[in-house]
């Protein structure tokens, strides 16, 4: 509680033992052990889907583990609610800002006090003054939360945790939206905090941050903890060695299987003129999403071009801009020699541009509609399934039966609501819909996200086949293995900008990996 100087040898504040948590279809945490010690910045590293967010959810009381135990100060506890987590001294700064936009900073900090009380603004001000002076952060208590930059919002959330005497501070991907300077500042702030005896759990994708800010690193992969580097080893290695070791933990492991089958760049790809050209495509960023920063890409027929990057760096915006769901501010998109940036979604589809969204239930399908209609969601009204606008049930059903067979969709019937199918089968419905006649360019957004192994394998094979049949394929993915396995070239996206394009080959793993974690090529 009090901020006296603890030493590294202290007892752990939080101990996780054999924590397992499953969601329908995914095991998010699989027997994870973790110890959080005071005076340490404990870095959690891992790709998207490695199970970091779930772990945070468990610690902050948003979710309950299926099995395993959580001990606080050596006694076993169930963290029932966020309120309970706070009272145990665990404060969390979530990846997506958890401030009420219409309240001021002070009001946000006061949320959670006894409801009958008058918010004690004066006491808050004193406390904030004290903390911010000793830590060197400055916040304007009277500003509205929606007027703050993401970095400022984060500082407010850190402040909130400190005001509540948190002993453990969780920072969930806090740097993903910060400027380099903001990241530096956050790093030194963390150092000052742990020097006061706090424990910090710092979640990040970026290696250099992990290496320069951390005391201890744990690496998660597919829900399991695959390695840990303690403070002693941490100090004994220099940055370069540390980086290599971590890269090995994060991206290695599958070498033995995959190395032989390195994807050979397609010889066709540059021989023909590009089928899709993006030139200077720009989109303003909004308060919740990054924009696009003069994106330039060329895609040749038969080519598989990957877009790598940490989630939320403009990949979705790129897909929306291409599919026509959002209008670009400047630049041009050329499909088969024709400018299409002003065309509607339907016109682009008719012209051969197809988009498989990653949000399969949110926007890709209507979950209460039968599979048969979801196959035709983007062609409503067109013959032969509709004649004179009247539905032709027999044709629709026949079409559905064909696609169900061709794409091996496992469904009780063509009339089953699509929301009842598994993720893999919903993905097959989308594949069948988008690849139907006339496709020239297909954009995949995280096509295997949340799928099990066999569906992942078959989806990847399908993507390969599509490119082999002469279509241009743009594959957006946060899974580096997938990109390395499939693509001819891999572009890396960071904060709405393409930071580099790598030819797939022997060194591609390292090069893309380095670009992805923010190191230069």
């Amino acid at each position: 509680m009090t901020a006296t100087s603890h030493q590294a040898a202290a007892e752990p504040i939080v101990t996780l033992e054999r924590i397992t948590k499953a969601f329908p279809g995914v095991v998010a945490n699989d027997n994870v052990d973790l110890q959080i010690l005071p005076g340490e910045v404990h870095v959690l590293l891992g790709e998207n889907g490695a199970g970091k967010s779930t772990l945070i959810g468990l610690l902050s009381g948003l979710q309950q583990p299926d099995s395993g135990s959580i001990q606080i100060d050596g006694t076993q506890r169930a963290i029932n609610s966020p309120r309970h987590a706070l009272s145990l001294g665990i404060g969390t700064v979530f990846q997506h800002a958890m401030l009420v936009p219409t309240l001021t900073v002070a009001e946000n900090l006061l949320l959670g006090g006894p409801w009958w009380e008058r918010p004690r603004k004066e006491r808050l001000r004193e406390k904030v003054d004290e903390i911010s002076k000793s830590l060197g952060i400055a916040v304007d208590l009277d500003a509205y939360a929606h007027d703050l930059s993401l970095g400022e919002q984060q500082q407010v959330e850190i402040l909130r945790a400190l005001i509540r005497d948190s002993r453990v501070l969780i920072l969930d991907e806090s740097t993903s939206m910060l400027t380099p300077k903001g990241i530096e500042e956050l790093g030194s702030l963390m150092r000052r905090l742990v020097n006061r005896g706090l424990a910090i759990i710092f979640i990040t994708h970026k290696l250099n941050e992990a290496v320069s800010f951390g005391d201890r690193i744990s690496v998660l992969k597919l829900g399991r903890k695959v390695g840990e580097i303690g403070p002693d080893r941490f100090k004994s290695l220099d940055k370069a060695e540390l980086t290599t070791q971590i890269v090995e933990m994060m991206f290695g492991g599958q070498h033995s299987e995959d190395d032989a089958g390195f994807h050979k760049p397609n010889p066709l790809s540059t021989a023909e003129p590009p089928v899709l050209v993006l030139d200077g495509v720009t989109l303003e960023s909004t308060s919740t999403a990054p924009g696009l920063n003069s994106v330039h890409l060329e895609l040749h027929p038969g080519e598989l071009l990957g877009i790598a990057g940490i989630d939320g760096n403009g990949q979705k915006q790129l897909a929306d801009a291409l599919s026509g769901q959002s209008r670009i501010e400047s630049g041009s998109i050329t499909l088969n020699g024709k400018r299409i940036e002003t065309h509607s979604v339907g016109e682009r589809r008719d012209a051969g541009l197809r988009y498989l969204t990653d949000d399969r239930l949110g926007e890709g399908t209507v979950s209460t509609f039968p599979v048969s209609l979801n196959f035709l969601l983007k062609q409503i009204g067109s013959p032969p399934y509709w004649r004179n606008q009247i539905e032709r049930r027999a044709d629709i059903d026949q079409h559905a039966e064909h696609l169900i067979q061709d794409y091996d969709v496992r469904t009780p019937s063509a009339h089953t609501p699509v929301g009842r199918l598994s993720g893999g089968n919903i993905q097959k419905v989308l594949l069948a819909r988008e690849l139907s006649d006339g496709a020239k360019v297909v954009i995949f957004n995280k096509p295997t996200y949340g799928l099990d192994l066999s569906n992942t394998v078959s989806t990847r094979q399908r993507i390969r086949d599509i490119a082999a049949s002469g279509l241009g394929v743009l594959l957006i993915s946060t899974d580096l293995e997938e990109l390395l396995e499939l693509c001819d070239r891999i572009a890396v996206m960071d904060a709405g900008t393409i930071t580099g394009i790598v030819e797939n080959g022997e060194n591609a793993r390292t090069e893309v990996g380095r670009l992805m974690v923010g190191l230069s090529q």
């Binding site: 609610s81 969390t92 009420v100 949320l111 006894p114």
Partner: protein, 311 residues
């Protein structure tokens, strides 16, 4: 035409406006609490009429108007608790349940009235008036504005209480957070469901008092369907006021004046159908909506049930 601007006419007009505005004000302030916390309370008409009936019943059998208001608040609160369980806790559709409650309570109160009062049609004596010293002696304005039942002043005072609650209390912060970003409230350690339940119950109590006012002070009698859309008007007022109590007051007065104007004109012998004047506030509001409605600033989570950790 001289009579139109006579002191008597103006006085009656203002007096009537205040009297007619009070139930709308209570309904609007009540609805505002629910909406602020993210619940679209369409059942408020039902809560009002429950309050009108039960408030009248209690006042009539006890002889005390204050017990009547208490009864109204209680009845409104009970109806609201049904809404809270079904819509806040279980997350059922707020519009379906709201309309269901309104229909059911309109029917039920009419039925009970039929059983109990349809032969006797009992009336309450005219309510006591509290004349505020000095102020009530101001010519024209005095009798119009400062000779009302105490509940009228309390209702107006409630506007300022609510301003205080919204801006200066922990409860106010919680309510706003529950409507604008419930997840943020949850991680700050406040139970969203509990906060919204409190809001819906308060709405019910205030609507019930508003209903009791309609029966006990406005009419002195309960008749079936006495609320006649006052609850729905409350919804309109709350949505237009965008979270600010003062705007509910102004809106309620606007509608109150138009209601009062129709009676006043008839008394003055000018024969304009009441409907013409009743249209004016709606017209004004629609015009305002067309002109300024572009920035719709309803709470972001209005009408959406909260589920922790839903991604």
């Amino acid at each position: 035409m001289g009579s139109l601007f006579s002191e008597v006419f103006l006085g009656a007009l203002l007096f009537g406006a205040v009297a007619a505005a009070v139930p709308l004000l209570l309904a609007g302030l009540g609805e505002q609490i629910s909406e602020k916390s993210g619940i679209l309370n369409i059942g408020i008409e039902g809560m009002m009429i429950a309050g009108a009936y039960f408030g009248f019943l209690v006042a009539y059998s006890s002889g005390s108007l204050w017990l009547g208001f208490l009864g109204g608040a209680l009845a409104g609160g009970i109806v609201a608790s049904v809404m809270a369980i079904l819509c806040v806790r279980l997350g059922l559709n707020q519009i379906v349940i709201g309309i269901g409650l309104t229909l059911g309570l309109e029917g039920l109160t009419a039925l009970l009235h039929h059983v109990q009062f349809s032969r006797t049609y009992p009336r309450l004596p005219a309510a006591d008036v509290l004349a505020i010293p000095l102020l009530s002696d101001i010519p024209v304005l005095g009798p119009a504005l400062f000779r009302h039942h105490l509940i009228v002043y309390l209702a107006v005072a409630l506007v300022f209480v609510m301003i205080y609650v919204y801006r200066r209390t922990q409860l106010g912060l919680n309510l706003q957070a529950a409507g604008d970003k419930p997840a943020a409230l949850d991680v700050a350690g406040v139970d969203v469901v509990r906060t919204r339940t409190v809001a819906v119950l308060s709405t019910g109590a205030l609507a019930g008092i508003g209903g009791a006012y309609l029966a006990n002070i406005g009419a002195g009698i309960f008749v079936p369907f006495i609320t006649n859309g006052a609850g729905f008007l409350g919804i309109v007022l709350a949505m237009l006021a965008r979270g600010r109590p003062v705007w509910v007051l102004l809106g309620a007065l606007l509608f109150g004046i138009s209601l009062s104007l129709t009676t006043a004109l008839q008394v003055a012998g000018i024969n304009i159908p009441t409907d013409v004047i009743q249209m004016i506030p709606f017209l004004a509001v629609m015009i305002m909506l067309v002109a300024f409605g572009r920035r719709s600033s309803l709470p972001a989570a209005l009408g959406i049930p909260y589920e922790r950790g839903a991604r």
